[in-house]
Amino acid sequence: MSRHLTQRLAFGLLILATLATTVPIVLIVGYIAAAGLPAISLEFLTAMPRDGMRAGGIWPAIVGTLLLTAGTAVVAVPLGIAAAIYLAEYAKDTPLTRAIRIAIINLAGIPSVVYGLFGLGLFVLFLGFGTSILAGSLTLAIMTLPVIISTTEEALRAVPQAFRVVSISLGGTKWQTIRRIVLPQALPGILTGVILGLERAAGETAPILFTAAAFFLPRLPNSPLDATMALPYHLFVIATQVPGMPVQIQYGTALVLLVFVLSMNFFATIIRSRARARRQW
């Protein structure tokens, strides 16, 4: 085969692979948008569900997902960043820290339903939080922590070592160096990891299934110990558990969840590309 032909063949295959991955995504998003858009209205976004969720809106599910995501962030972000700083900047390379790193990587791969069961056992039952936003947020936080820790650690390690040496040589302490040089430089990478982790938390059903989610609760929660509706679980319920459900409402709910998650993703991409453009190393 001529070199020219091989070249064209390889090129064609690569294009094919790209299409094979992007076309279905575009189709799915497009289909959900087309089928869900007619359902979207101010009432749909801001009203309580009625008629056994067959009419009205999804307001409590939207609020529930926002609260669960915020609760997850409050717990997982500071804890995850602190753990990553310890691992990247302070921990010596010992068998113990190596074991911790491997554990974190493996935790990221555990199926989310396992986190759900863990949350049920620890937070709902043992600690007595009941099915609640608190229990759900803590469960989601534990699921999200490995992602935040490993992306943050990677972002910290990507900051050139020479900056640290310079800062130390100018009389900086280790913590001053981390706070004034390393963290600001790593911030875009950290934010990207945080958002991607939270985005996953926002979209998951299994972890909140036994820990936070209410089947039907047409009011807003008024304490962290209340159960809540949430978009992914609500979608699961109206798609499988309620007979005579209008298809429009199902796709409308899916669309809202999709927009929520994709806009977080979009935000992360913007942060990253802006930081790339500004970066001086």
Binding site: A162, V165, L170, G171, I181, Q280
Partner: protein
């Protein structure tokens, strides 16, 4: 005598003995040049003088280094305070990822200096001392990475001078610079030695001969000989020094 080094040995974790029983006296307000082939331990010695070796895991330092009579090699030294007294310029200029001005004020701010007037004065004074003021005075807020390599290296010198240290260490500061930038750096070193004690690892024997008031020849962790620059380069006592400076070697 500014610095008195007594029986200093430095050993790395992997067993490399980078310095063996070094004793050397470094006078104040002069330029002391540590020269010799690569791997001789020159950088290790500089890093011992401001305790940057502390950043290397498992390094073992024995012996004493007296700075104004006070041992700075042992335990219990306030290393951050020491590093403000003994500043360091590295071979590769590494501007911090911030503006020219912020690069200068960084160390002072870490030390707790807040007053704007003080910081502003320090910026101008140190940039002048490093012969960079004329070139950057209108663009102090520009990112430091926008400077040329030679300007970056003078910025790194200014950044050290801003702390008003007593000793300035320079590890092959001109190895990546063109001859004109090199000359500028050498000129400012000649100027600052009135106020500072300068210890430099020059990037060539020629540079050592040009600027050294005192020169010390290092070979594989050993201090072969040290003496006044003029004398050492014209009439070295040790055959190995002679071989090195006449280029028969390394």
């Amino acid at each position: 005598m500014k610095i008195v080094i007594e029986h200093l040995s430095v050993q790395y974790d992997d067993g490399t003995e980078s310095l063996r029983d070094i004793s050397l006296t470094i006078p104040a307000n002069q330029i002391t040049a540590l020269f010799g082939p690569a791997g001789g331990g020159k950088s290790t010695l500089l890093r011992a003088l401001n305790r940057l070796n502390d950043l290397v895991d498992g390094v073992r330092v024995t012996g004493r280094i007296l700075l104004d009579g006070e041992d700075i090699a042992g335990p219990g030294v306030n290393v951050t305070a020491l590093r403000r007294r003994v500043g360091m310029v590295f071979a590769q200029p590494v501007p911090l990822p911030m503006s020219i001005r912020q690069n200068i004020t960084y160390g002072l701010e870490l030390a707790g200096v807040r007053e704007r007037a003080k910081l502003t004065a320090a910026v101008e004074k140190s940039l002048r001392a490093a012969a960079l003021w004329d070139e950057v005075q209108d663009r102090l807020e520009a990112p430091a990475t926008a400077l040329s390599g030679g300007q970056q290296q003078r910025l790194c010198l200014a950044r050290v001078l801003a702390l008003e240290p007593e000793v300035v260490l320079l590890d092959e500061p001109t190895s990546g610079l063109d001859p004109i930038s090199t000359a500028k750096v050498e000129t400012s070193l000649q100027a600052i030695k009135r106020d500072y004690t300068v210890v430099i690892v020059p990037h060539s024997v020629q540079q050592a001969a040009r600027i050294a008031d005192l020169a010390a020849f290092f070979l594989q962790g050993e201090l072969v000989e040290a003496g006044p620059g003029q004398q050492l380069f014209l009439t070295p006592k040790d055959q190995r020094t002679n071989d090195y400076i006449t280029g028969r070697f390394g």
